[in-house]
């Protein structure tokens, strides 16, 4: 099978892999780069478990062929914490019950992180729900996820003041 050399930046680190051009970015991350934090829930872009940030945009890694990620900046759940310290969003998920079984959590965190990066102040509840509508969770009923995202935004804007 023909392969291509792929250069991309994952969680701030330059990475180089040789993979089939149509290999899913999800599998490149999980198999070739040993980053299994990104999950597969449906394989057809419906559930959002494989959500990663690609050049600042939120994408379903199961729908992105490897060649599309050439030169891209990718952030996965493994890139959210700075060393052993959890980020504000992760901390809020821990404290407020935003993660239950945890399988949707990596994708949920990436989508929420993107929302907080493009939002000033604390997003309204419906804005949070809209931003997370592509990420399915079967455990929480979403309430504690929404609460955690807003709490993290409050913590961040509080810290900024």
């Amino acid at each position: 099978m023909s392969t291509v050399a792929l250069t991309l930046t994952v969680n701030g680190r330059a990475r180089r892999v040789r993979v089939p051009p149509m290999k899913r970015l999800l599998d490149v991350l999980r198999e070739d780069l040993a980053l299994p934090g990104t999950k597969e829930g449906c394989g057809e872009g419906e559930c959002g478990a494989c959500t990663v940030s690609m050049n600042g945009a939120v994408v379903n890694a199961c729908l992105v062929p490897a060649v599309h990620a050439q030169g891209a900046r990718i952030v996965t759940v493994e890139g959210l914490a700075r060393g052993p310290r959890l980020g504000a969003l992760q901390q809020a998920f821990v404290e407020l019950g935003g993660a239950q079984c945890g399988i949707c959590t990596p994708g949920m965190l990436i989508a929420a992180h993107a929302l907080l990066q493009r939002t000033r102040g604390v997003p309204r509840e419906d804005a949070v729900r809209e931003a997370l509508a592509g990420n399915l969770c079967r455990c929480t009923g979403y309430q504690k996820i929404v609460d955690a995202v807003r709490a993290a935004a409050r913590a961040k804007s509080g810290a900024a003041r």
Partner: protein, 776 residues
């Protein structure tokens, strides 16, 4: 009549950790991506297994053809002849084969397994197998099963029939001022855990080890012992981090685990099977569909005199868990209401569809959907408010259930109902919405439409439900669960149970119960993995039993450990440093300290399984819910605007986890009520994708306001009762009532899809002139 709701106030006793909400123990792993689920575990040399399944619903296997053009080298192929022990997935009736040998009883039934080191080659091999199956006419619906269009089980297609009788129902109906009868339908529901089923099997030194996503390690172990004719010490089952279960990983892991094990056994290499979403939805268990006819007789003022429920559930192609799902459904079928004369008949029937199984609520959501819808119809017929009718009949302490159980303590029915009504401001909101709907209708008749031209109506409905915690009847006695606590080498206690963390918070709550009893912080307590080689059989993680039953055993273990260590130290132990000092001294001088406690029924509890009489559960939990909806009369879409639910669950050990259970269960109930529709074509699931099997998103989900109420249960640890399943029972009937309040149309089948609601609205339009004519 005196109510005993005052005891529902906040607990007076002060606890160090019980009733607080420390972070879930594995939360940091889950938010950093470090948690390893079965699909994340890499094993060198592993084979990837695929399952060849029947495409017909019923038939006889006449041949299996392996495409001669395909390169079969390095492909492992296994069928029923490779099973060293019995070809059975052991459960209750033991009627389901691991791999079909001759008879096909449902579509997507497994027949053959293939495996290869390259998953793409394994998939190609699966496609290179052709099954030659002679089709037979299938039975695909409950109606056809009862009509015996074909006989596929016994002589009547009935797996199990249960009759519960109390008082004299005929006399009750004769004395009633009003008798009302209706029929209610609910369809299949997919558990839809976001992590699909997956298992990994290895054979080393004669020991078969199976790891994976599961709820009940000992279920899988027992099933594997039978399939492989191995003694328990040669079968080890270990749970890996599990991405949701909801019952869907109660019995099915024995099947997929058996398949992975068979491939490993035959090849001598590790073998892994992880389903993709399509296969998971098509082949694994679902909630039992149910048809329930209810007939109730009341006095003019709304007092229930007679209640009759006739329930039929679709068990699917094998008996599996149907008898016990049916049992829980039957016991809960008359709702949390006092009624002197009750007759409940429940039948589970066979169809040629994949076996239905455990799903949160386990039969009780289906029967209580019918009961609560019927209460609303009764209220309407009597001109009573739905709250008033429920208030009149809801259980009090001392009332007697249909099985003859006297409700002696922790009866929170009225507390849950009244708190729901008070906090949602029931009468005021209900009246206000009625007025607004009438005004909108008047304006539209006058040609004035709301902005956007949409004809919207709002309505609010409520429901009251109950749910028994623990196994039904003598189930807990038969399980005889054993939990243990020992001292780890570092001097901190270690919990040893087979109960699994599947997102609900088992290990965090367990550590709190033990920490509280021993006077140490819960994070000091070790929790052993659910590994059958290391932990005793503390029973399955199902039936809202984990905290109440197994947590209760752990509390007793911890109390005994404290007692022994204090006797050893010769003084009371205060604080965790003192605990550890004494514990290490014990370990140094006396060696290990391990304490185990086995379940014993509370005194005075008795159950007669032959006649369905007695104490069906040690205790029940209760929930009230109010659901407000907005209906678009032109599109038939229903949007849930908000939900408030007050749930009486005894003492909440960890309020954040408890509320998480309630919110998640509530949304699954809303999905079941409005969105989740399993569509079938020739006995196969037609919409086996997340593209067309729709579960609620964050936008579909309303804000959910949760109120935790607790009337402590003396026999639960620190007063705890069950909470896991209760929230699933409440939402659907409240949605139906809210839609009726909004539109005047009362549906009797869920999910209330836009198509179904539009059809019901159209029927009313068609009936309206006829009704007007009749009045004239």
């Amino acid at each position: 009549m005196a109510t005993r709701t005052r005891t529902g106030a906040r607990p007076r006793a002060r606890f160090a950790t019980v009733g607080t909400s420390p972070p879930r123990r594995e939360a940091a792993d889950k938010v950093t991506g470090r948690a390893r689920y079965i699909d994340d575990i890499v094993v060198p040399g592993v084979l990837h297994g695929r399952t060849v399944r029947s495409t017909v619903a019923r038939g006889i296997v006449r041949g299996v053809r392996l495409d001669p053009a395909f390169d079969w080298r390095d492909v492992v192929v296994a069928d029923h002849r490779d099973i060293p022990g019995e070809n059975v997935v052991a459960l209750i009736a033991d009627d389901q084969p691991l791999l079909a040998a001759r008879d096909i009883r449902h579509a997507d039934e497994p027949v053959l397994l293939v495996a290869h080191a390259d998953p793409e080659r394994a998939e190609a091999a699966r496609r290179a197998v052709t099954l030659d199956i002679e089709p037979l006419p299938p039975v695909l619906t409950v109606e056809d099963a009862l009509a015996r269009t074909a006989v596929i089980h016994g002589d009547d297609n009935v797996y199990k029939e249960i009759v519960i009788a109390r008082g004299d129902v005929d006399a009750g109906f004769a004395a009633a001022d009003h008798v009302l009868e209706a029929r209610y339908h609910c369809g299949h529901q997919e558990q839809l855990y976001i992590e699909t089923n997956g298992m990994l099997a290895e054979v080393a030194d004669g020991v078969l080890t199976v790891r994976g996503s599961l709820q009940c390690p000992y279920y899988v172990q027992r099933a594997l012992e039978r399939m492989f004719a191995l003694p328990p010490e040669r079968v080890r089952v270990v749970q890996t981090v599990t991405g949701g279960g909801f019952g869907g990983k109660e019995e099915y892991p024995s099947m997929i685990g058996g398949h992975a094990a068979l491939l490993a056994w035959k090849s001598g290499r590790p073998a892994k099977i992880v389903y993709d979403r399509l296969e998971d939805i098509a082949a694994t268990t679902k909630r039992h569909p149910a048809v329930t006819r209810v007939r109730a007789g009341v006095t003019r003022d709304g007092t229930l005199l007679a209640w009759e429920s006739d329930v039929v559930m679709d068990g699917g192609a094998y008996e599996t868990l149907t008898p016990v799902v049916l049992s829980r459904g039957a016991i809960h079928a008359a709702g949390p209401y006092r009624c002197p004369n009750v007759r409940i008949r429940a039948r589970g029937v066979a169809t040629n569809t994949p076996p239905n199984g455990a799903f949160r609520g386990f039969g009780a959501p289906q029967t209580q959907f019918a009961a609560e819808c019927h209460m609303d119809r009764l209220a309407e017929a009597l001109g009573l408010d739905p709250l008033a009718l429920r208030r009149r009949n809801a259980y009090d302490e001392g009332d007697v259930t249909p099985t003859g159980q006297v409700l002696r303590e922790s009866v929170g029915a009225k507390l849950a109902l009244e708190e729901t009504a008070r906090r949602v401001q029931w009468p005021r909101v209900r009246r206000a919405l009625s007025r607004a709907n009438a005004a909108a209708a008047r304006a539209e008749r006058a040609g004035r439409f709301a902005a956007g031209g949409r004809r919207l109506r709002r309505g609010i409905g409520l429901a009251l439900v109950w749910h028994g915690a623990g196994f039904t009847g003598s189930g807990e006695v038969k399980l005889a669960s054993l939990a243990a606590l020992d001292l780890a080498p570092d001097g901190w206690p270690r919990i040893l149970t087979a109960n699994t963390e599947i997102g609900q918070g088992t290990i965090t709550s367990f550590a709190q119960l033990v920490g509280e009893t021993l006077g140490i912080r819960p994070e000091r307590v070790h929790v052993n993995d659910a590994d059958t080689a290391q932990v005793p059989d503390s029973g399955p993680t199902v039936a809202s039993r984990t905290v109440m039953v197994v947590g209760g055993l752990l509390e007793r273990c911890a109390a005994a450990m404290r007692e022994q260590l204090e006797a050893f130290a010769g003084c009371t132990i205060e604080g965790e440093h003192a605990f550890r000092r004494v514990a290490r001294r014990w370990l140094a001088t006396r060696g290990p300290l391990a304490i185990a406690r086995r379940y014993q029924p509370p005194p005075g509890i008795a159950w007669d399984d032959d006649h369905y009489r007695g104490d069906a559960y040690g205790v029940f939990s209760y929930a009230g819910i109010a659901v407000e909806v907005e209906v678009d009369l032109d599109t038939g879409e229903t949007r849930v605007v908000r939900v408030l639910t007050a749930q009486e669950i005894g003492r909440a050990i960890h309020p954040v986890l408890a509320a998480g259970q309630i919110e998640g269960g509530t949304l699954q109930g809303l999905g079941w009520a409005l969105l989740e529709d399993v569509r079938w074509k020739d006995g196969r699931v037609w919409n086996h994708q997340l593209t067309n099997y729709i579960i609620p998103t964050a936008v579909d989900a309303p804000p959910i306001q949760t109120v935790l109420l607790g009337i402590p249960y003396a026999r639960g640890p620190f007063g705890a009762k069950g909470v896991g399943e209760l929230p699933m029972d409440a939402p659907a009937p409240a949605v139906v009532e809210a839609i009726a309040h909004a539109t005047g149309v009362r549906v009797s089948e869920i999910p209330v899809t836009p198509e179904r609601l539009l059809a019901a609205l159209a029927r009313r339009e068609a009936d309206a002139p006829a009704r007007a004519g009749a009045r004239a």
